[in-house]
C-alpha cells in the first residue's frame, strides 16, 4: 500500500538546513495498522505530509496506494483519507455543509454524500449538530467532525496525524472505535502518528519508532517490548545488607539482561519475567537471602524508546508529566 525509498525532507531555517526526515525506507502492506511513534519534532508529521501529497519530498520516492506522490498526486488523493492536526472544518460553515462538501470533493453525488454524512453524524455521536456552525462546537465535537470528514468517502488508506491529542478518554475511545471499524469492515489500511505510547500499543499492529528523522525500530509492539526492553522485576530484601549480594546473584540468572540497584531496590531487566521471578525467589532462598517484596512490571513502549535513545518518550513529548530518573536499561 505504501512504498518509500530514501524519502527525505529538509527545511531551510535561519540559514541552516534541517533534515526533518532522513532517508525513509518503508513498505506497508494493505490492511495493516501502523503507528509512527516518537517525540515532537521527530519527523512523524513531515513523513505523513509527504505521503499525503501535502509536502513534496526533497529527495527519494514514495508510492502511495499505487501512485507516485510527485508524479501523480491526484491519483494518491483520490484513494486516501487524512486527518490533520488542525481542524478540518471551516469555522463559519455548518457541520452538514462541510461534510457534504467533502463527499462532493471525492466525486460522490449530493444525495449519497448527504446520506453518508447523516450516518457518520450518528455514528460519531454528533446527531443533532448537523445545522450547527462549526465554530460553536466543543473541542471534542470538532475532533469527531474531523474524523467524520476523513471517513466520508470510505478510503482504503487512512492517515491520522495525532488523532486524539487534547481529547478526553471517552472521545478518544469513540474515535478509535470508528477508525477501527473502517479497518475491520472494509479492510482499510491505517497509518497514524502519536506521541501517546498507549495509543500505539493498543491499536497498532506495527510500530515505527522515530527519532531525529529516522526510523530507529520497526516491529509489533509486543516484539519491540520483549526484544528491546523486557520485563522489569523489582525486589527488596528483608535485611538491607543483603541488597548487594542479592543483586550479584540475580546477575547470574538465565536471560537476565541487566541488574541495577537504586536505593534499596534491586531492578532486574529480563525477558519472560513471569517465569524468571519464581526462579529468582528460589535462588535467593537457597542462598539464605530473605526477600521482602517483589514487583513485576511489563515493559511499555516508553522503555523501548529509552533503550533505543537513552531518553524517555514522556520527557521528550510533554514536559509537564514528571518522570522518574532511569539508568540505562
Amino acid at each position: 500500500m505504501i512504498h518509500t525509498r530514501g524519502l527525505t525532507r529538509s527545511f531551510r531555517a535561519k540559514g541552516e538546513t534541517v533534515e526533518a526526515v532522513r532517508g525513509l525506507d518503508l513498505d506497508i502492506e494493505a490492511g495493516s495498522v501502523v503507528a509512527f511513534l516518537g517525540p515532537n519534532g521527530a519527523g512523524k508529521t513531515t513523513s505523513l505530509r509527504m505521503l499525503t501529497t501535502l509536502l513534496p519530498p526533497t529527495a527519494g520516492t514514495a508510492t502511495v496506494a499505487g501512485h507516485d506522490v510527485v508524479a501523480d498526486p491526484a491519483g494518491v488523493r483520490r484513494r486516501i483519507g487524512y486527518l490533520g492536526q488542525g481542524n478540518s472544518a471551516g469555522t463559519g460553515f455548518r457541520v452538514m455543509d462541510e461534510l457534504v462538501t467533502q463527499g462532493r470533493a471525492y466525486g460522490l453525488r449530493r444525495a449519497e454524500a448527504h446520506a453518508r454524512a447523516e450516518r457518520l453524524l450518528d455514528a460519531l455521536e454528533l446527531e443533532g449538530l448537523a445545522r450547527r456552525t462549526v465554530g460553536t462546537l466543543s473541542g471534542g465535537q470538532r475532533r469527531r467532525l474531523d474524523i467524520a470528514m476523513a471517513l466520508v468517502h470510505e478510503p482504503a488508506l487512512l492517515f491520522l496525524d495525532e488523532p486524539s491529542t487534547g481529547l478526553d478518554p471517552h472521545s478518544r475511545a469513540n474515535i478509535w472505535e470508528h477508525v477501527l471499524r473502517l479497518h475491520k469492515d472494509l479492510g482499510a489500511t491505517i497509518v497514524f502518528t502519536t506521541h501517546y505510547l498507549e495509543e500505539a500499543d493498543l491499536w497498532a499492529g506495527r510500530v515505527l519508532v522515530v527519532d531525529h528523522g529516522r526510523v530507529i525500530a520497526d516491529d509489533s509492539p509486543e516484539r519491540l517490548k520483549a526484544e528491546l526492553a523486557g520485563d522489569l522485576i523489582t525486589f527488596t530484601t528483608a535485611d538491607p545488607a543483603d541488597t548487594g549480594p542479592a543483586a550479584t546473584r540475580a546477575r547470574t540468572l538465565r536471560a537476565v539482561r541487566e541488574v541495577t540497584v537504586e536505593d534499596r531496590e534491586v531492578r532486574v531487566r529480563t525477558s519472560d519475567g513471569d517465569v524468571r521471578l519464581p526462579e529468582l525467589l528460589r535462588d535467593l532462598d537457597a542462598a539464605g537471602i530473605r526477600v521482602h517484596s517483589t514487583r513485576l512490571a511489563r515493559p511499555t513502549l516508553d522503555d523501548v524508546f529509552l533503550t533505543l535513545t537513552g531518553r524517555t518518550l514522556r520527557e521528550s513529548a510533554d514536559a509537564d508529566i514528571p518522570t522518574t530518573p532511569h539508568q540505562g536499561a
Binding site: L55, G84, Q85, D146
Partner: protein, 261 residues
Amino acid sequence: MKVLTDTRTAFARELKPELRQPVGLLFTMMLPFLLLALFAPLLSNSGAGPGAGGGPAGAGSPWQWFVPGMLVLLGLSATAGAGASLLNEISSGAFERLLVTPLNRAAMLVGRTLKEVVVLLTQALLILLLLLPTDFRLHLPGALAGLVLLGVFGVGIGALSFTLALHSRRRQTLFYGVQQVVFFPLLLLSGVLLPITEAAAPTWLYVLSRINPVTHVVEAERALFDGQLIESVVLYGFLAAGAIAMLGVTAGIRGMRNASA
C-alpha cells in the same frame, strides 16, 4: 468536466455560509455605504464631481458621478478581504483538508473567486436599489455593462487577494502589510473620491493616477452608468479590468498548485 464539477463544489461551499447568513453582506459594504451617505451629499455643493472622468460636464446629480466610483471601491475593499478568509482557513487546518482531496486546484481558486464576485454584484445591486428613490438616473444597458465590468474587476482583485494569502501562509503579517500598502494608494490614485484631472492635480500625481489601472476601471464605470457605451474610456476600462483578472487568475491558480508543493 471534472474542473466544472469541482468548481461548482468549491463555489457552493463558499456561498453556503453567505446564503445562511445574508446579513454578513452588509458588513463588507459598510465603507462605500457610509461614503455614499455621509460624504456624497457634500459634492453637490462643492461642485467637485460632475465633469470629471470622461463624463460630460454638469451632468446633474452628484450621485451620477460618485456612485460608479463607489462600486469600484466596493470591489476593491470587499473582494480584497477575500484572502483574509482563506488565510484563516490556512491557519486552522480547513484549507489543508481541502488540499488533500482530489479537488482540481484551478477549480479551488475559481470557485472561491466566483463566490466573491456573486457577493460583490449582489452588494452593487443593493446599492443601486437604495439609490432608486434619489435623483440618480439608471441607464439600464450602461448599468448592466457596468456590472459586467465590475464582475471582471472583482475576479481580478479577488484572485489577487487569494494569491497574496497563499504566499503569506508562513507569515500572515505579509498579507495584511501588502494589503494595507497597496489598497489605499490604489484607491486614492483612482480618483474615486475626488477627480484627479490634468488641470487640478500636480503632474506627478496625475501621471501616477494614469498608471493606476483602477483609474481606468473607474472612468469606464462612470461613462457606462452615464449611458455611454461606445466610448474609448470604456474600452480602456475593460482592458484594465481584463488584464487584472488574467493576472490574478493565472497567479492564483499557480499559487493553489504550489500550496501543496
